[in-house]
Symmetry: C2
Subunit: 244 residues, 2 copies
């Protein structure tokens, strides 16, 4: 029961993490320990595992060894919870690429860095990214109520802004490298698709997943850049993931 002193409040959520969550490949790490963030993490995990519709509020609560009352105290509805997870997911994405957006660098380096950062984030934050992916599918297939629609429109815009960062970097890169891109839109989509694919097949295999994720991300960004018709110089490739 989360009815405890504030001193043990944070520890409780960590200790009480559902053993199923621990047995799943993606271990829940409580970076944030306030109740709201704990709910977001738990929800992201449940939405990932079962999808939005098949996830009940009770599922999320049980993952926290809590009850519905807790969830509804913080979020007005299941939809609001879903949207909050999506927002957090996109925040995570923007945070990941933010250090590398300086226009002072050559566009190819910028693109490689944000692409690498994106690829690593896709693997490191699968629950949030899969939830974003579900939100995108929801928007595209139109299976929303009118109320949902408005918020989803807004959330899609956030994602479009994220994508625009890549579009811009690809365009700049093409100009600097004097590359001809047949269709910028489709190229951006392909680029991101190659980097996003881990959502479908990647599962961490090690306690310390970072070296593996780094290696995979290198392969992904190499493929994605080659698809555009360019390559990163070897020494710049070696620096990816190290100068942050």
């Amino acid at each position: 029961m989360p009815k405890s002193t504030a001193a043990s409040h944070d520890q409780m959520y960590g200790v009480m993490a559902d053993s199923q969550a621990l047995s799943a490949a993606a271990v829940i790490v409580n970076r944030e320990t306030d109740p709201r963030s704990c709910i977001l993490n738990a929800a992201a995990h449940c939405f990932t595992n079962q999808g939005f519709a098949a996830t009940s509020i009770d599922d999320v609560a049980h993952k926290l060894n809590a009850t519905k009352g807790m969830i509804y105290h913080h979020f007005r509805s299941k939809n609001d919870l879903f949207f909050a997870v999506y927002r957090r997911g996109m925040e995570i994405n923007f945070e990941a690429i933010k250090p590398f957006q300086s226009k002072k660098l050559p566009a190819l380096i910028r693109l490689a860095r944000i692409g690498y950062a994106h690829a690593v984030t896709m693997m490191a934050e699968q629950d949030f990214q899969r939830t974003v992916s579900q939100g995108v599918a929801m928007h595209q297939t139109g299976s929303t109520t009118a109320a949902q629609r408005e918020t989803l429109d807004e959330l899609i815009e956030v994602r479009d802004r994220y994508e625009a960062v890549f579009r811009e970097a690809i365009r700049d890169m093409a100009r600097e490298e004097k590359l001809e891109i047949d269709d910028l839109s489709i190229s951006v989509k392909c680029f991101l698709a190659a980097l996003n694919g881990t959502v479908f097949w990647y599962s961490p295999r090690h306690k310390n997943p970072q070296p593996e994720q780094h290696k995979i991300a290198l392969n992904l960004i190499t493929y994605a850049l080659r698809g555009l018709g360019t390559e990163l110089p070897a020494e710049a490739l070696e620096n990816l993931g190290e100068d942050e």
Copy 2:
């Protein structure tokens, strides 16, 4: 009510297609007209729009202007229906690439052709492909009952066999072209990810979507091949989609 003479049986399902389905971008074309196939088409559409969990058997029945009785006469359970849609989706995929699998051709041509065929199918059969995608996600996240698990394992194997066709073509191509592929597995995943991405963003915009799909598929296959470090000669590129 489907209680009619056999003569009007097929026409009825076509005429009675839900107006919502017609207003959605993807128009249901009843290529097969037996009840079972009609149910599969309707189900694929519903699973795509709402996801498996949020789709009720009543939804599928209503899309056919029929009732649950009809669905349960043909399929034992909602799960069985879902699996049948998945199977059909994979059948469609195999059928699409089958004409191009001859090993007499150079591997690069073979790869380009099956890749192109795959890309076009992804766009032309979105409902089935999105359902397959849901099945894959279900399998990966482990959100299944024991009964589901067994069938899903089998279905994933079907998909792995499909992927193996691409793996083999890529490997053969790399050998013939004397290309060094860093990690064949990841390269296959990237290749298919680039071709599959339309599932997330493509919606037909024209009554006759084929020229547009052809153009997009050309862009996709060009990107995907370049990601591998190769390109298709221009005249071979022009022949894609024409010699079948």
